[in-house]
Symmetry: D3
Subunit: 293 residues, 6 copies
């Protein structure tokens, strides 16, 4: 069960509201690198966790923190939409000067037309100047991005991946703005992404590190086609060797093999399906193996 | 530029066609853990790669291999749809016995109604007994699952995650079937997933390992709110300490800090947006801060 | 900021695990009538609320409760997946009897094939027997269903609608199962849906009731084409009068007019766009208004 | 069966074509508050209606009117795209002046670059200057937004909600433009939204009003957990009482209870799923309840 | 503007309601080969048509017919859901016999579990036994499938394609059922698909036939890289010639060239993007062209 | 199995990088008229092909060519994003002048704000200046657009349609840019679209031309309602005759009938579903056929 405190986890302030930055911030809410995704991902991983209960607890503690991150971002979007234009017409002229004034770190001002052109227009038309669960292009969040596989190691790597792309995004947003309030707020999100990258890696280490490989480590590896387990297969058209690197030589990272490399060749047959069945909705010409004369 | 060889990368055979297994195999084609996803992911990572060219080469070599994995799975789906029912009516009785015969490893047979109930009906209605770019529930693949961040380390973790969930899926499919041809084919895919997990981990190691952390390592870490960079924040309602583990003590995995833990508290303000603007489509009652009497 | 308690809001038990019912329960998690939707809807309505703060508080209190409803449903799905089949083959025979035993309230048993046919196969292939953020057909939740308009009255009606379809769904699930644990759990969700319907209607009353109509009540109604504001327009092909009812006679519910009815006729022009521009990618034949001879 | 008249339901004119406004109008076509949604919603509600036939008739009359609303909006979009730029290059200079002239109600002109930046680029690239079934951000309409529950009261509230958010949208579009033709056209849509709000509320009244509550009123309410049916549950972290209002005191709106309020507490158990099954694709470390040493 | 007649365009009857066939029929409503798609496609093509007005008229006449096709299919789905099971439990035993009786053309009966397993569960849970705007797997219709390019010839080919896949689907549904009412209804849809295929081909002929090629015929063909305009490029890995056919020899179908064939070779450069920019969120290791030592 | 050559199929150069054009080019990658679509469409058509093998070969040859077209477009997008702005602030001033310089074919320059407004912001935030599998509005490619029906003639018309809309798109992109490198590259894509239109039409001719009609030609046409097979049905509200053309007179294009035209009338019944079942979640008022008094 969940509870709420009215205050934010961290202070969020905005000196120079900017509807273009409001749109950019949406990527951190509803983008695939964003907070709705990690929040739901950790929740579903925790709720479906089987195994030692402390990992479930950890997942739900952090999932709960992430709800509050969405909350802060939603507030940040709304702050950036204060005074955003609601009209293309003359009455907006006064608003225009306001907007221009706050945008102009460089002395430049953006016209109302530019702001309307660059806004997520749903901020104006659908929400009345508030955040949506969408990305920076207005594409709604799709819950298929919640990775919760039932395998703890696979999930931890999914989480490292999410926090890595998430921190990359937050750093790009940090570069994009020159608003001190926004920079301060983003410095907090960046720090939490740092921690969360560490946390999931620490969990991988605690659960056995390389002993967990290959994932899932519960599958009897003698059932796999072991001739192909540790060899890099090149697919260069001209048959030149594949690019050499750590992945073509030396011991493998699971300690169970040695990397090698080879030029790929087809080991299988030519896959021919034969004529279509009479009742299958095909053309008559498909019902024999011989092309029409 | 790309080229094609008519033969498959590995042999694909099916002794006992089963339309329910055809549906399950679709997850490996169009599911989020599947091959269209990794194929497009490695292609777009390669095509957009900036930095030393050999990583681009490696990405495109493996991406090209993955196109051939989709090809094998598409053939496997079609083989499992041979003799699938096309009718709910009496003429299908003979087909029924055929289907029953091949399904019954356990002596049990599935009725036509069960097969029709459990099939991806688009295998019958939309493709005439062939694969689709969908998952096991018939949900079309959505290219938003292609993770290509422009950050090589983030991308590599995304790839480890993809191959981990991919191998988990392939192992589950291996357990699900008792067809020897399908098991042999899956043993190949599982082996390649083993290699690809290793390959992306090897790439992380070659690109600096923990020196690459936190991702992106090009962001000046003094700009983050460092008080929050290495501390696990508990969000238990009753204030009990968060679950202890590797993530609450000892040196961090980037070698730059020490893990600690704390009970989370709000550091921020109560986020109040104030009254709505007169021209914003709100109710009149929202245009003051005082509730109606 | 948010906090979590390890215990559920209400007890969730399952005596007879049933993977078909697990699939049905998904509609209450990730369906458009489900809990992810109302949770995110109340959160975004609250976070973006402008006007008297107590409504924001109320929204966030209930939104927070809803997170815990998703939690209970996710647990209910996992309980129903205990002992679900993982294989179509003979080793599953023993599992089959187990499954059959628990399904057979009516003495009937479902075969493994039927269970596999009717399951959300991702419960087996993607999550290892746990819930997903999807509906009963495996379609992922799409956040475009989060209605948060910035108009409090419109939002309240959206919420009544959500809780009405939600309670209809919960009642159907109640009828579908005969598991006492599931029935007890659903009786709680149904009760909360009762309250939440009442709650949003109470809020509409408190905010002025019919004085809030038409929504938004901040738009100057003299700007609308008032000849068309309170008339039912029939579109029967044969010109017969439209169906009579409360909506064709008597005072309107906003107290501002009287209902009437009319047979619809076109008041506008024939919309002709004219020839295509030369550089617009059209056919040459579209670049005049005269059809080819 | 349906029929068509070449003329529009209401006159649609545009003096100052503006491709940015064309993009905004798309929200009223393919947005979740838009006309495709209500049209399909009323059609499917009508087609699936069970009960007294006059409600079905009414639904189909209005659904049919809505098809004509999409038609008018599609024309309005095309009119706003007349003379829109098709090139970023110098030849467009003359077009630019035209565009600038019509945009400049405030004396300001928008550059070709701004117009191209702010357009739905599919208006240029995919349709050759015509409408699409998408929202203002170019996201295609998704038919999951068609709410047709088989419960007439739930559906009526869904319809009130749709017409409320729809009228909010239309009012915002009215504010956004200063084109007299567009304002006149929108004044008609706004009036029809007024009527349709009234119409669905009238239908609720005729079908019993509060006697229809809670929805569905066919469910035996003694089967619900009545202790929780009329109590507001607060989820404030610090245990302070929930916000007071009409929803915490007085008789409920269905006349069956009295509102109260309480501080929420967990009534349920801690949900633990136990170890993973050996054949489920989990990690070995998940197959016991004890964490690794 | 549109109008409605209460009667269907053609009689729809169902002797043996079958919820599995109800699910299959959904493909003809909300599938990509279905009627919502062609209806919206012809509407948007007509509404956006530029050029001789008679083509617009024709498009809207047929679009209007298609709305009535959705109507008939929605009724057909509801008829097939009469008596569908609403429960997995014992009370359903009597219903079971009813269902079994009507299903058993072959003497076989389907169990309640099979029906529940194979149903679109939303038919039970979300609509109360009525159609939805979804395909046979429960995936909602997505309006991105509305092809309306602004080029009349391209659109006509899109329409031929739609009616071709549509008739293939209808024929498959005809084979799938043995209900005489359903077969009669489908024979009507199949006939209309025959006509509509003819109609769009006739339109292509009237608009110039091969003189319309290549589409768009308004583009100055001297601007294309004419060396590549009429040559089949083979991409076989081993350099063998591409498959010969009408497409490799003889005059082209636009009368403007002669088909030939060649083995594909790269004519372009190796695409190298160079190092990443310092402020772009990449890893430090990507900021030079040299791999780490 | 597939192979890769590092070089592109054709040269891709860009003199004046333009992030607005980068966004437009995305339509050719991930739009419904784009290359991912045709690539996957030809792959799945080929992989599922039943009938004479040479058509499968042809499909896979061209599908393989299309992978290389995506590759070139991805490179073109990245080239257009060189020097794109990463910041709204003053440090970007120098970049601004660079950007302005390259944009200004007409002497005009676009401000940083305009570029940020018009960019696909994911090019900045998610990919670090590289292509995504999305369309020009940032909507991800959805694999439901892969048409592969199992009927060769239907598929060929789908392919003609795809290459027709594809060439229309490429011509519009050609008009949009004045960069000589981009124009040269697009002249190649346009030429290949010319060939591919021809190729699929040639295949239709080789497979029988009009003898293939109606599609599927394997359905016994005596089973269709032949009274409706070759008649244009008008649906004008006022009963005026439908628009005359090639589709209302003369022999049909399959040589099997004669076109005629008629005014449409309802041939079917009024579809009434009757009262709702007691356990179906409806309102009590729906459980009789009589409306409430």
């Amino acid at each position: 069960m969940f509870f709420h405190d009215k205050r934010l986890q961290y202070t969020v302030r905005c000196e120079k509201p900017n509807p273009l930055f409001a749109r950019a911030l949406q990527q951190a809410i509803g983008g695939v690198e964003g907070e709705i995704r990690v929040c739901l991902q950790y929740l579903f991983q925790g709720w479906g966790f089987r195994g030692p209960a402390k990992y479930k607890d950890m997942l739900l503690n952090t999932a709960t923190e992430e709800i509050g991150h969405i909350e802060m971002l939603a507030y940040a979007v709304a702050l950036n939409l204060e005074n955003a234009p609601t009209s293309m017409q003359e009455e907006a002229a006064s608003a225009s000067s306001v907007v221009g004034a706050v945008l102009g770190g460089s002395g430049a001002t953006a016209s109302i037309e530019t702001l309307l052109a660059g806004m997520n227009q749903r901020h104006l038309l659908s929400t009345g100047m508030a955040a949506t669960p969408e990305n920076c292009n207005g594409v709604p969040f799709n819950a298929s991005h919640v990775y919760a596989s039932g395998n703890a190691a696979a999930d931890m790597y999914c989480n490292v991946a999410a926090e890595s792309t998430g921190r990359v995004l937050a750093c790009r947003l940090y570069h994009l703005t020159d608003d001190p309030g926004m920079k301060d707020f983003l410095s907090f999100l960046i720090a939490r992404d740092t921690m969360h990258q560490q946390q999931w890696l620490a969990c991988i280490e605690e659960m056995g590190g390389s002993a967990g490989l290959p994932i899932p480590n519960s599958f009897n590896q003698s059932n796999e086609a072991t001739d192909f387990s540790y060899v890099f297969i090149g697919t260069n058209h001209d048959g030149t060797p594949p690019p050499a690197g750590r992945w073509t030589q030396g011991p493998t990272l699971d300690g169970k093999g040695t990397f090698s490399a080879t030029v790929g060749v087809p080991h299988g047959q030519e896959p021919i399906l034969g004529p279509a069945r009479p009742d299958s909705g095909a053309q008559v010409e498909q019902m024999s193996a011989t092309p029409p004369a």
